[in-house]
């Protein structure tokens, strides 16, 4: 059942169209990615869906609340990690959490303190709770900002560029925490990113947008296959001969076979990886081939994404 429903959502700033007739829906508990280059309209879309700005045309519902007319209710319902961490540097981590917990209506002291502790412990910041945020590293600030977005147990979470500006180690840590969180909290997450690794590792479905317009929607696997063709299986053998090539060509799932005699590699393009790969291995062994290695090669989401954006820009 969709918890976010977006219909023809459009945002214009004067004559500039930042978001152009977007249509999509996100199911309860899903991690949905909004992928696109800088200036694609991701942040504007999130700001509209979080009840921060109104749409120029079209409509959207978040947990049943209409974003333009029930913006206060929408803001109560969602948790948001904004583009900047939006933390008060002169306040401690605990004071920041306390302010936002109360702002989101978590006022009962025992429940509030328990939730703040739970979140700070989850993000590994409990020991630093009494330190001013100004003394935190970028990664710690980002973790605290995510903790803040979750403090009121929102059923819908918007994460705008959660790993932006972080070093690879902190990026991985934040990504792992989000993955863990989506299982633990069972919230619906809309993730805005231009880091394909985030989308690939976290999202069940992604929508690529460019210049405010939706380019494609689908699962990361589906997008890869749809855009960059079918996957291939690379088999490294002790020697390659025509008998082995013929044996592979006879496998029903195989569409095309190429060989590289220098590296003794046989490459087969196949329709279905799960069904085709064991059959290829079996046919090679039966034909007397000595297999040194088998590798499934899939086009990366990055390749698919870059191809799409390039086509769009043309």
């Amino acid at each position: 059942m969709p918890i976010i429903e977006v219909e023809n959502l459009t945002k214009k700033f004067g004559s500039y169209v930042a978001v152009n007739h977007l249509n999509f829906s996100v199911d309860e508990g899903e991690v949905f990615g909004l992928l696109g280059p800088n200036g694609a309209g991701k942040t504007t879309t999130v700001r509209m869906l979080a009840g921060l700005i109104s749409s120029s045309e079209g409509s959207a519902r978040v947990k049943g609340y209409v974003i333009n007319s029930d913006s206060l209710k929408v803001r109560e319902t969602v948790g948001i990690l904004t583009e900047n961490p939006s933390l008060y540097e002169k306040l401690t981590a605990y004071e920041n959490m306390d302010f936002f917990a109360q702002a989101y209506g978590l006022t009962e002291p025992t429940k509030k303190n328990q939730r703040i502790k739970e979140m700070l412990e989850f993000f590994g910041l409990w020991e630093r709770r009494n330190d001013k945020v100004g003394t935190f590293s970028k990664g710690m600030k980002q973790k605290l900002a995510i903790a803040r977005a979750l403090v009121h147990k929102p059923s819908v979470i918007f994460l705008d560029e959660p790993t932006s500006g972080l070093d690879p180690e902190s990026s991985k840590e934040v990504r792992d925490l989000i993955a863990q969180l989506s299982h633990q909290e069972k919230s619906t997450i809309l993730l805005c990113t231009h880091h394909l690794e985030d989308a690939e590792k976290l999202c069940s479905r992604v929508m690529i947008i460019n210049k405010g317009t939706s380019v494609i929607v689908g699962t990361p696997d589906g997008l890869r296959n749809k855009i960059s063709g079918t996957p291939t299986v690379e088999v490294t053998l002790e020697t390659v001969n025509s008998k082995l090539v013929e044996a592979v060509k006879n496998v029903s799932e195989v569409k095309q076979v190429t060989i590289d005699e220098e590296s003794c590699t046989l490459t087969a393009t196949i329709q279905n990886i799960q069904l085709g790969t064991p059959k290829i291995v079996k046919s090679l062994v039966e034909a007397g081939g000595l297999i040194l290695g088998v590798k499934v090669v899939r086009p990366s989401l990055e390749e698919a994404y870059l191809k799409l954006i390039k086509e769009e820009q043309k």
Binding site: S86, E95, Y104
Partner: protein
Amino acid sequence: MRLEKAKLVFSKDWLEIKRNWQVILPIVIVPLMISVFIPVILTLIPRVVSGSEADLGGFVPLVQNLPLPVQDQLAAMSELQIMIYVMAIYFFAPFFLIIPLMASSVIASDSFAGEKERKTIEGLLATPISDSELLFGKMLVSFIPSMLVTIISFVVYTIIFDVLSFGLFNGMLLLPSLDWILLIFGLAPTVALASIGLTVIISAKVKGFREAQQISVILLLPILGLVFGQISGALIFGPAVIAVLAALFVALDFVVFRIGVKMFKREEILSQLS
């Protein structure tokens, strides 16, 4: 409007301000210096410079426009006593309308503009705190410290002046008078609220703190008009004048707040972020 939400915004901002001595020091020190030095200069300089032969000179129009009972009281005094009395009670009274404006200007200018500069505004605007609650909370955090500073300055001024003038006026304590009490507790808060409201609106509209502060200086002009009105004798701050002005400013406070809520646009604020 949920007052607890406005109080929450106030508490958060106050916690930040308390830890920033660059903000606290000018707010506290300048008014306190004024309230210490003015009564000292007022009571000591005329005695040193002119002994008992003081010349009323430029105070004549102010003295002539004072209420008749006050003029009767002055008739029994020497020119030195009249000069100190007039300066302490009437001449410097309207300056205490400027103190809350001065003290609040830094905090009110920083209210939204500072959050924009420090890039904390988006998180705040994303909370389910309504426009009126945000505005009221931001106004409170400028209003309460500035009025505290004004009241403390008034108490310091009163004590120092009474101590120094005790002998000269034969044991009579001139302050606090009814006019001063009405001015500090009636007029000053209403004037301060109007000025703070306008400054907070400006702060939400402009990009940065400095811009907000520069524009808000203009708000001092009408108050300076009241100060010069009293000095020139054109407008004497008696109980009736103070009551009328306070009533006018209360009405203005409501109008400013309503306009502020109407003009508060989250979208416009977010569009100013780089």
